[in-house]
């Protein structure tokens, strides 16, 4: 196919005239037959090969093109009697009502028109096109009620629209012929006041006399396995129109009685109407033989699956791949592991030059099956030649600078990797290829956060840029390194996860030591080959420091920081103050706050000083260190992690008993009407909210008790403390008490009359009867509690499933409204029409990703510059 290098400058929308229709059409369709006895398209039929071809082997008789070469050509049908276009009915009714029934002038006196012309011009100049049409709509509306023509004095009568396409004037039906006649008489200068721009066309064109027949390529027929042909819905509909039209012609010529003519005319109108839109509310939709409603023109354009959103705003692509993802902490963060089967299929075009000829010839020699080889070679005149054993020798002989070799993907190629839903720009990032054995895409677990991916069967997409320009853009703008800091709030969204954090947390605890050999083992396993300091015993903090650059300084708090009134800094007795001085971790345990994804302050500081490229390497090493530490010392979650001591068990029991007693007290108060309702609330609501808060408080107390009675050797608590995963509340849920379940944000009140289950007393308001679960998961719930838990679980699932489409729609609207807004070269923020939205982006012109959490920290600069 030819490549068009022209730029489209503008699109103009107009009404189509019958004469233009005739000019653009190539065939007059006269017979409803599609194919003759041999299965060859009939001349003058709906599949006439002058309108384009869809069968391989046939050639279009208009342009001589084959399938995919011929774009298709229009035909037309001459209607025996005109029909109304349904979608223009709102305008047609306005035309009829607002013009004189005799002289077809608009029902506005000439002097008023002059005034309106002035107004319209003024409004267009001041407020724009849109407001102009709103004003004109008002003008049109006003002359609907005029009863006497200001030009000829004719008395006007009421015209009623009988939906969808019948017009009655004083109970007498206006046929499309009558209507067309009236519309024809409206002078051009009156059109503007009727809501029709005169340049757009004539009103009578809204009544169809000639119907364009879309090209065959628009409505391709498909051949079923059985060899039977199945036609497109549009072809079916057009067939109906042609058939009815022919019958109408015959009856007209035969001079049939008027009733028959009218009936056929109505039928023709119905078919024309449903050809345009098949979901008009007053008429039954046209159906396929199977009973399925036909999908006609309007349905093809409309909605999510329509032309606009399905084919124009989003398009299918080549050079893409999709498979399951799995983790690999040993590859770099900005790499993606690609199975060889994919690398062999997806190719990168590379142009042959004098300097790389030998290199590329090597690929061609290996051919399509041996990795790394080449699948195609493109000659300078654009011919694509497949590399197969039979052709290799010929190709190798002719290959010379100017040829393009489509070689297999190799390591360090740039690809775009994506996971849906693509909610933010970090959902599509450029990675470097790393071809690996296996059949899944491999990503470093550090990049799961931006993609919101996990490895429970998630699949991801991969795209291979095909031009130098796109490759450069992907590498410069979409590279993982450039996406570390999220524009949402200016902190690294790529960071360490789960085990990485637990590992580093345990490593950097006070008192953690390793021998020299263990340390060198550890460093070797993460690929850090620098010389170790001359020491026999290494503390965990010293080991962590081995990864830090020598001039790195950082100060920050840990997750466990108890926010003492006076921060002790480095001397914090709980080791909660992270301090790095000249590349040495002096104090503090490394946890989520320092290296976690979405919060890591240490990582952020690192990026600020050493840039993102170095950060990528650093992140990967720190994360890997965490994993290797866990490998070395052993890390497991066990059931006994959630064991609680007998004395705290009784403490928990008393907390729960007290809470229950307290809520019963509240209930008694309520029953005796001694309780005072909150203003604006009923007594019952007041009770409910009080009981809820009592029980929630109790559960929080329980979780505090559980937290205080677990040792630091408890790996489940290590995860919670370091911020790697879960919280102490999760432990409390398992170990001690699940607490209050909720349905629609309140205690569970549904079920039988005045009670949730038939096993409770009626009107029992106690905690147990309304969903308070006093056992933990490990101890086991009793049957009621189990049921309550299931109710609550279902409720939260409903919440999630309702939320996803709602927030998706909100985002679609936001993106649609703001997508054209950009920063201009003068620093202003404007939309596509050039309207200034902000004179400076965010009022200060700072890019969040380059800032210090959305700000510029002058204090820090002072410390750095002046010291």
């Amino acid at each position: 196919m030819e490549v068009v290098r022209e730029k489209i400058e503008k699109l103009e929308f107009k009404l189509i005239s019958p004469s233009f229709m005739k000019k653009m059409a190539i065939v007059k369709v006269i017979t409803p037959e599609l194919y003759d006895a041999d299965g060859y398209p009939v001349d003058g039929g709906l599949m006439d090969i002058r309108m384009g071809v869809v069968d391989p082997g046939l050639r279009c008789r208009t342009c001589g093109g084959r399938v995919k070469e011929c774009p298709g050509h229009f035909g037309f049908i001459e209607l025996a009697r005109p029909a109304v276009h349904v979608r223009f009915v709102p305008w047609i009714i306005d035309f009829l009502r607002c013009t004189c029934r005799k002289c077809s002038r608009i029902l506005i006196s000439p002097d008023k028109i002059a005034a309106y012309v002035k107004d319209i011009k003024k409004i267009e100049r001041q407020k724009g096109e849109l407001e102009k049409w709103k004003f004109i709509k008002g003008v049109t509306k006003r002359c609907r009620t005029v009863s006497k023509c200001p030009y000829c004095g004719e008395k006007q009568s009421k015209i009623k629209l009988e939906k969808p396409t019948t017009f009655n004037e004083d109970r007498i039906r206006l046929t499309p012929i009558d209507i067309r006649e009236r519309l024809e008489r409206i002078p051009d200068e009156d059109l503007l006041f009727l809501g029709l721009e005169p340049l757009a066309g004539r009103p009578e064109w809204m009544i169809i006399t000639l119907l364009p027949v879309p090209p065959v390529t628009v409505r391709p027929s498909i051949t079923l396995e059985s060899g039977q042909r199945s036609e497109d819905d549009l072809t079916h509909k057009l067939g109906d129109i042609v058939r009815t039209n022919q019958r109408l012609f015959e009856n007209l010529n035969a001079g049939a009685p008027e009733i028959i003519i009218d009936d056929l005319w109505d039928l023709l109108q119905y078919h024309v109407t449903t050809f345009f839109a098949n979901n008009i509310s007053q008429i039954p939709p046209a159906r396929h033989r199977s009973g399925r409603p036909l999908k006609t023109l309007a349905e093809r354009i409309k909605s999510k699956e329509g032309r606009f959103r399905r084919n124009l705003a989003g398009k299918r692509v080549d050079f893409s791949s999709r498979t399951v993802i799995s983790p690999d902490p040993h590859i770099q963060i900005n790499e993606v592991g690609i199975p060889q089967v994919v690398a062999i299929e997806l190719t990168v075009p590379e142009r042959v030059t004098e300097w790389n000829k030998d290199y590329l010839v090597g690929f061609v020699k290996r051919g399509p099956t041996k990795y790394p080889g080449a699948n195609y070679v493109i000659t300078p005149d654009g011919k694509r030649k497949k590399v197969i054993p039979d052709t290799v020798d010929v190709i190798l002989e002719e290959i010379k600078p100017g040829y393009i070799v489509e070689r297999h993907m190799i390591d360090r190629d740039v690809v775009i990797f994506n996971r849906q839903p693509s909610l933010h720009k970090m959902s599509m990032m450029a990675h470097y290829v790393k071809v690996l054995p296996g059949k899944t895409f491999r990503i470093n677990p550090c990049t799961t956060t931006p993609y919101n991916a996990d490895f429970d069967g998630d699949e991801m997409n991969l795209h291979v840029p095909q031009t130098e320009e796109s490759r450069a853009e992907a590498e410069m703008l979409m590279n993982v390194a450039n996406q570390i800091i999220t524009p949402r709030y200016g902190l690294p969204i790529i960071g360490s996860e789960q085990d990485h954090i637990s590992g580093c947390y345990l490593l950097t605890q006070e008192g953690f030591t390793l021998s020299r050999s263990e340390t060198s083992q550890l460093m070797m396993s993460i690929g850090q080959f620098e010389k170790l300091p001359a020491k026999k015993i290494f503390t965990g903090k010293e080991i962590f420091s081995l990864l830090l650059p020598e001039d790195f300084n950082f100060e920050g708090k840990t997750k466990r920081c108890r926010r003492h009134d006076k921060c002790e800094g480095k001397d914090c007795e709980y080791d909660c103050y992270v301090c790095v001085e000249n590349g040495q971790l002096k104090s503090g345990a490394i946890d989520d706050r320092s290296i976690g994804a979405g919060s890591g302050k240490l990582y952020h500081e690192f990026i600020k000083f050493y840039g993102t490229e170095r950060a990528i390497d650093f992140f990967q090493k720190v994360s890997l260190l965490g994993i290797k530490v866990l490998n070395m010392i052993g890390f497991t979650v066990k059931l006994s992690d959630t064991d609680i001591a007998p004395e705290s068990f009784s403490e928990i029991k008393s907390i729960l008993n007290n809470a229950e007693a307290e809520s019963y007290m509240l209930i008694e108060k309520y029953n005796k009407r001694q309780m005072r309702a909150y203003p604006g609330r009923t007594l019952k609501e007041t009770l409910e909210s009080n009981v809820m808060s009592v029980l929630n408080r109790a559960r929080n107390k329980v979780s505090k008790v559980v937290e205080s009675h677990t040792s630091s050797k408890n790996y489940t608590m290590v995860m919670a403390d370091s911020g790697a995963r879960g919280s102490s509340l999760n432990v409390a849920l398992i170990a001690a008490c699940v607490g209050q379940t909720a349905l629609r944000g309140s205690r569970i009140n549904k079920g039988y009359s005045e009670r949730v289950f038939p096993h409770f007393e009626k009107n029992d308001l106690g905690p147990g009867a309304h969903g308070f679960i006093r056992h933990g998961y490990k101890g086991g719930l009793n049957p009621f509690e189990f049921f309550f838990h299931a109710i609550s679980g279902r409720d939260s699932m409903m919440d999630t499933s309702m939320r996803t489409p709602k927030s998706g729609y909100m985002q679609r609207r936001l993106v649609n409204a703001l997508q054209d807004i950009k920063v201009h070269f003068d620093g202003t923020v404007r939309d596509s029409s050039g309207t200034v939205i902000q004179f400076k982006y965010g009022e200060d012109g700072i890019d969040v990703t380059k800032s210090d959490g959305g700000k510029i920290n002058v204090g820090d600069i002072k410390n750095e510059v002046i010291g």
Partner: protein, 369 residues
């Protein structure tokens, strides 16, 4: 390159006590960093803002929750509230006001409660026990609820005053015991009697109309009043109320009473507050951009097909969002021209989009050899 005022001020503050060369160095370094931090021209800031607000939407709860710290009041929060703000609905589902008080009042609980009581709308319905239509004698009989009258601190005289004002022509008998008889003067239809009953029930006795609930709470040492129901215009005039720090969560009301700029700020504050309450951090710039776009032309436009998206100049851009057919037919009749100046049209026709790298045209100067 000039620094924005806020940063300039920060530099001045920091350079206090520094000598001249050092403060100059600080200023220069700050300017250099600021330049580095600036946005690049052609950056698609609109999409970035939309994504930054939309992405956390998936993590929000749907539920209306109790107001932070106060169990007594229900306020729409989370995703529904965010959608409400961006839709620019006429009336929020839970209208509330935050009333800040003048400093001398704010610390005195009794005075605050006094003001709160003054603001709260008391209608006839809330102080009556029973209302009966006596068809035989053709009158309405009401029994007042003494205890609730006491709690609202309302005298029978207040009721009398209000009734005389509303039912001027009719015969009113008020007994000390709290029994009221109201007989219509002229009309004798049951429908009219019923209408009178409804009118009586909703009769305004005291307070600011529209304020159905007041709640004084202590925040950081000083008292503020939260309300359910809003009437900003009237509340601002109440003595003791600080009119500069009192606001309503109804954006349109803010617009009517205080103007567009107030409306813009209230969009920013409401949206930011909603996100923060859910524990989601979003930079203020993104919300400011949305708010600025919404209030651009001196009116509030929602992010809906009737608001911003419907006002776009390009036919194709409008058609690609919602109800494409309507836009196409209108475009034909109005002879509209699409100049293909925004993003989506160029995506449709496979041309480079005029944003980011697509905006730039590179001209290479080649050496002639």
């Amino acid at each position: 390159m000039t620094l924005p005022p806020s940063i300039k001020k920060a530099v001045e503050r920091e350079s206090e006590g520094l000598n001249k060369s050092k403060s100059k160095k600080l200023l220069e370094e700050t300017e250099r960093r600021f330049r580095e931090m600036s946005v690049v021209p052609a950056e698609a800031v609109g999409v970035i803002s939309a994504q930054s607000i939309g992405e956390p939407g998936t993590q929000m709860t749907m539920r209306t929750k109790h107001f932070a710290g106060v169990t007594e009041m229900n306020v729409t929060l989370g995703l529904p509230r965010l959608i409400e703000i961006f839709d620019a609905r006429r009336e929020p589902s839970t209208p509330t006001m935050t009333i800040r008080l003048q400093d001398d009042v704010a610390s005195d609980e009794n005075k605050v409660r006094e003001i709160a009581a003054k603001i709260l709308e008391v209608s006839f319905e809330s102080i009556m026990k029973e209302i009966v239509i006596d068809l035989l004698n053709f009158k309405i009989e009401v029994t007042l609820d003494n205890s609730s009258m006491e709690s609202f601190n309302i005298d029978i005289k207040d009721v009398e005053k209000a009734m005389n004002k509303v039912f001027k022509k009719h015969k009113i008998v008020i007994l000390k015991s709290g029994l009221i008889r109201l007989s219509p003067k002229d009309t004798k239809t049951i429908l009219n009697l019923y209408k009178m009953k409804m009118k009586l029930k909703s009769m305004h006795i005291r307070g600011v109309p529209g304020i159905v609930q007041v709640l004084p709470i202590k925040r950081r040492g000083s008292w503020i009043i939260m309300t359910a129901g809003t009437n900003l215009r009237r509340v601002l005039k109440v003595p003791g109320v600080d009119p500069t720090r009192t606001f309503s969560n109804n954006i349109h009301e803010m617009f009517r009473v205080l103007g567009v700029e107030a409306a813009r700020n209230s969009i920013v504050n409401e949206a930011l507050g909603t996100l923060k309450q859910q524990g989601l951090e979003v930079d203020i710039r993104h919300i400011m951009l949305v708010a600025d776009t919404m209030t651009l032309n001196g009116d509030i436009r929602g992010i809906t097909r009737y608001g911003i998206s419907g006002d776009k100049a390009s036919v194709l851009a409008r058609a690609s969002f919602e109800v494409p057919l309507k836009h196409l037919f209108n475009a034909a009749v109005h002879n509209e021209v699409d100049n293909l100046s925004s993003v989506i049209e160029n995506v449709m026709i496979n041309q480079p989009i005029p944003i980011g790298t697509g905006l730039l045209k590179l001209v290479v100067k080649r050496d002639k050899k």
